[in-house]
């Protein structure tokens, strides 16, 4: 993890903005300096990370009242209010077990950073993604890309793998929707997240044995833990698709009942049809309405939280990409630009074909501390309803053509035992019950699944070493039923046992160098669509057929990382090498000799098959913060996806990417603080590693050429009557470049979105009602 140092250098121009705030953070129990703790000032939106001595420093602060949020891995945030009238230095001790810091309850565990593979997006980088989809925000992390269906539907890809090979953990709960489809985007409001993280290694065992590609954590901000209230209002506007976003958060803790705290959050987003540089694509609008509420009861030794969220979206699908049969598909592909019939409407209206998805989550989470033992109980219910409206023959038909409801209940209980002999660990069990119901067109059957899992993780850390190991076992039964037209039923029952294990070691050779080596073994049971899908896929005019013969996939993943940080922390570099050997990798094999004849013509058949695959690659990033206002960063991601049995490349793997960013931090001036300008250059290569057409044509069109994009960002936080107001302007695709992306299925039909200028505004209000003696004067 690169230290993100986004604070303005101490260039003192403004009169009242010349104070510094420095501090030192220690682990209270181990009496060790706490490195890599994050210190965040909410008002200026700036963040620093403590160095190896546990020290941090902010410069060029204006006089005023600041909210410091101090976080360390696996800890809840500590909030500290500072009144700054001169240069200040504060000492903080983060305790191991539950203790108090001021009136603030602090909970800290294990002392050390997660030593496995972890990449995060938070702070200002996260702020810059406000208004984008979850996948788009995640794709700012090196090694993560997007699989898209047009401009509205995007899902994350980690090192070439996606969908059911990634576990998406939303606020501690494993997301259970219909994630199997390439055009099924995650059903999560990105505004809920304060932080997005991608992890690999031992910690993924907490969530499942099937995290072949890794785990994505969507983490909301911590609830308030002192009396008072705060509110945040975000709005965003974009020129290209006239997108508008309103999002608000209200958090409160009552003075009379300080143990009780709650949060209300909501987001509304609406976008019209998107425009490429040359034409506007009809029916590419989107609308999203999300709401969540959290209530918690927080005492020293016990905490319980109830969370509810509702996500609802309607996503238009470009009319020119909905295909009746293979002849229509060939005609659409052979034109260099979509027919004028499908372009030119500038409207918010969404009509067929479109998707409508709702996802509700109810969660109860309780934490009990007994001495140094910690028990976590999490119960969750998820209700996902997905409807796809195709183009239909009868205009009076208002029904969806694909209608899937999946309800999931999950129960997780774990015990974190105290750290003894430098070993800390977690033992847990988890149960999942899931029921899927379909109506309309058959694509996947009704099913009930039951999963029973247990895991055990231990982490040892001493001096320069961290060693972690874990194991997990899951047993899953799947009972399926297809209701045939004539009243017959077709039943298939399966059960799968999957074992996963992981080992990770981390060695801090010196203050400058950290080595990391991890080995993970995971197994993923085939998903219902891979076993039993049977139907036409209209987006690609193919007939997809599952196979009940499929066995679980087994992945042996090796990753090795090297981090460098120079003596003053100005130069950071990180390289990650990985190789993921997947035995019985499930993929879709085109069967050109066996097209499926239907009344709408013959459709090419794709059958689920298994092979042995190897995905290997490298992520490299460098961050340089020389003295002065400039900061430079660069990143490279390279991936090879290979089918070892066919001795050929795998289809639909992300192309190599190269990117760099230069940012310029302006000195604070008057009420304007945290002023920054940045320019980003991203280059995506043409994907040259595609399956050889000699092995049966797998694609309709050769991969699009390489492209490069320039993006701009500018932001500033203005103090308006003591309240911070953050204003940001961004330009995506500055030069209105025409391009198509290999991982966007729209590349067959149309170009990507052209220049998009966006504007965002954030207003925060905060009032703390706390004992005056605690704030620092």
């Amino acid at each position: 993890m690169l230290a993100t140092i986004l604070v303005a250098p101490s260039l003192l121009f403004a009169q009242n903005c010349r104070y510094s705030l420095s501090g030192h953070i220690e682990d209270a129990d181990l009496k060790e300096k706490l490195a890599a703790a994050s210190v965040y000032i909410r008002e200026t939106n700036s963040r620093v990370v403590t160095d190896s001595n546990g020290d941090f420093r902010f410069g060029a602060l204006c006089a005023g009242r600041y909210t410091l949020i101090i976080t360390h891995v696996n800890c809840d945030s500590v909030i500290k209010i500072i009144q700054l009238n001169r240069d200040e230095h504060i000492d903080l001790r983060l305790p191991h077990s539950l203790q108090t810091l001021g009136t603030v309850v602090v909970e800290s565990r294990k002392g050390r950073e997660n030593s496995g593979f972890k990449k995060e997006l938070s702070g200002q980088q996260m702020e810059q993604t406000r208004g984008s989809s979850l996948a788009e925000a995640l794709s700012r992390i090196n090694g993560v890309t997007m699989l898209q269906t047009g401009s509205t539907i995007a899902k994350p890809v980690i090192h070439g793998l996606h969908s059911s090979r990634i576990l998406l953990i939303n606020n501690g709960v494993r997301q259970e929707g219909q994630q199997w489809g390439n055009e099924h985007a995650p059903e999560i409001d990105p505004f809920i997240a304060e932080k997005l993280a991608v992890i690999k290694g031992v910690d993924e065992l907490k969530y499942g044995s099937d995290a072949i590609a890794g785990v994505i954590l969507v983490e909301p901000r911590s609830l308030r833990n002192e009396p008072g209230y705060n509110a945040e209002f975000n709005t965003g506007w974009a020129t290209n698709n006239r997108q508008m976003i309103f999002s608000g958060i209200w958090e409160q803790t009552l003075k009379k009942i300080p143990a009780f705290t709650y949060r209300l959050q909501g987001t509304f987003r609406k976008a019209a049809n998107a425009a490429t540089p040359d034409y506007r694509l009809n029916n590419t609008g989107a609308e999203e309405k999300n709401f969540s509420a959290t209530a918690a009861w927080q005492k020293k030794m016990f905490r319980t939280e109830l969370f509810y969220s509702r996500f609802e979206t309607s996503l238009g699908i470009f009319t020119g990409s909905h295909i009746g049969n293979i002849t229509d598909l060939q005609n659409a592909i052979n034109t260099s630009r979509p027919d004028p019939v499908f372009t030119g409407q500038d409207s918010y209206r969404i009509s067929r074909p479109y998707q409508q998805v709702t996802h509700q989550l109810v969660k109860s989470k309780s934490v009990l501390l007994k001495g140094a033992h910690k028990f976590n109980l999490s119960l969750a219910g998820q209700f996902n309803h997905r409807r796809e409206y195709d183009i239909v023959r009868s205009s009076s038909n208002s029904r969806p053509q694909l209608d899937l409801s999946v309800n999931t209940f999950s129960e997780d209980l774990n015990w974190e035992h105290p750290r003894t002999n430098n070993i800390a660990g977690t033992l847990g069990i988890s149960l999942v019950q899931q029921r899927n119901h379909y109506s309309g067109r058959y694509f996947i059957p009704n099913y009930n699944t039951y999963t029973y899992g247990a895991y055990w993780i231990e982490k040892w850390s001493r001096h320069r070493w961290d060693i972690q190991a874990g194991i997990r076992y899951d047993y899953k039964t799947i009972d399926t039923r297809r209701l045939k037209y004539n009243g017959d039923t077709l039943d298939h029952n399966f059960n799968f046992s999957t074992v996963a294990a992981s080992f990770n070691s981390n060695f801090r050779a010196s203050a400058a160098w950290i080595f990391n080596l991890g080995i993970s073994l995971s197994r993923r049971a085939p998903y219902v669509n891979e076993l039993l899908s049977d139907g036409i896929h209209h987006g690609t005019a193919t007939y997809e057929k599952g196979s009940i013969e499929l066995k679980p996939e087994q992945s042996l993943s090796l990753h090795s990382g090297l981090q460098f940080r120079n003596h003053d922390g100005k130069l950071n570099a990180e390289v990650l090498l990985y190789a993921n050997f997947i035995r019985d990798f499930i993929y879709q094999q085109p069967m050109p000799e066996n097209p499926v004849l239907t009344i709408a013509g013959a459709f090419p058949l794709l059958e689920y098959r298994q092979t042995d695959a190897l995905l290997s690659g490298m992520d490299l990033s460098v961050d340089w913060d020389p003295a002065g206002p400039f900061r430079l960063s660069g990143k490279i991601a390279i991936l090879y996806g290979y089918n070892r049995i066919a001795r050929d490349w795998l289809i639909l793997m992300p192309a190599n990417k190269l990117g760099s960013e230069i940012s310029y931090v302006l000195a604070d001036k008057g009420a304007f603080t945290g002023n920054s300008l940045s320019m980003e250059w991203n280059w995506t290569d043409r994907q040259r590693r595609v399956p050889d057409a000699g092995n049966g044509s797998q694609d309709y069109k050769v991969p699009p050429p390489a492209y490069q994009l320039i993006n701009l960002q500018a932001s500033s936080t203005i103090s308006v009557s003591q309240r911070p107001v953050t204003v940001g302007i961004g330009v995506r695709n500055l030069f209105n470049t025409r391009y198509r992306d290999y991982l966007n299925s729209m590349r067959y039909f149309a170009d990507e979105m052209g220049r998009n200028i966006s504007f965002r505004l954030k207003i925060s209000i905060e009032k703390n009602q706390r004992d005056k003696s605690i704030s620092k004067h």
């Binding site: 009861w297 030794m301 016990f302 319980t304 109830l306 009319t319 909905h322 295909i323 009746g324 049969n325 002849t327 229509d328 005609n331 659409a332 979509p338 027919d339 019939v341 499908f342 009509s351 067929r352 109810v362 969660k363 109860s364 309780s366 009990l368 007994k370 109980l377 119960l379 969750a380 219910g381 209700f383 183009i391 239909v392 023959r393 009868s394 205009s395 038909n397 029904r399 053509q401 309800n407 209940f409 029921r435 109506s439 309309g440 067109r441 058959y442 009704n446 209701l483 037209y485 004539n486 049977d534 036409i536 007939y543 057929k545 499926v596 004849l597 239907t598 009344i599 709408a600 013509g601």
Partner: protein, 189 residues
């Protein structure tokens, strides 16, 4: 400690109540009633009288599953037939007659007939929609000398509102999409 355990138990109970309240079993209802076209039936009535002939493409279980059957269209030489098209969904009982829907929304549908060269069949006289543009639910097929060949019958649907159907629209007009595309073998004997 005891009160804490009580609290955690209470929290767990509350959550369990919440969850089970929503987890009522749904009855297994069969509702696969989506618009599937299983059958394209062509009825040939010889001009000037005679026994009507029926040829069809039939896929009673819908796409996938059991492969569909396609009749060979056998017609007499130098003859003219009035052809009526029926489109059915036979997955339901009784079968759903989609022909009526097509007739009702004639301005959004159009049949195309493409006999292969040398099949010695010509199709003309397509019936029209309310705007006088070809629809093709009824047509006239004329044969000449004995021959074998194929004929492709295509139903195109205009999803737009208004449909924007025009007389000059080619079969691959982007304004319309394919609902039916069936190729029959033909024999004039």
């Amino acid at each position: 400690m005891k009160t804490q355990l009580t609290k955690i138990a209470f929290a767990a109970f509350m959550a369990a109540v919440l969850l089970t309240a929503c987890s009522k079993d749904k009855d297994e209802v069969e509702d696969n009633e989506e618009e599937v076209i299983t059958t394209l039936k062509l009825t040939f009535t010889p001009a000037g009288g005679g026994t009507a002939l029926t040829y069809q493409f039939r896929d009673p279980d819908g796409p996938g599953g059991i492969a569909p059957t396609t009749d060979e269209i056998v017609l007499a030489p130098s003859k003219s037939y009035d052809v009526a098209i029926e489109v059915l969904n036979e997955t339901t009982t009784p079968a759903e007659d989609i022909t009526e829907e097509i007739a009702e929304e004639a301005a959004a549908h159009r049949f195309y007939f493409q006999p292969s060269a040398g099949s010695n069949i010509t199709v003309s006289n397509l019936n029209t929609d309310g705007n006088g543009i070809a629809l093709g639910l009824a047509s006239t097929w004329t044969t000449t000398a004995t021959a074998t060949g194929t004929i492709k019958v295509t139903l195109r649907h205009y999803p737009g509102n208004p449909p924007g159907k025009a007389a000059a629209d080619p079969i691959d007009s982007p304004k319309s999409g394919t609902d039916i595309e069936v190729t029959f073998n033909t024999k004039v004997q």
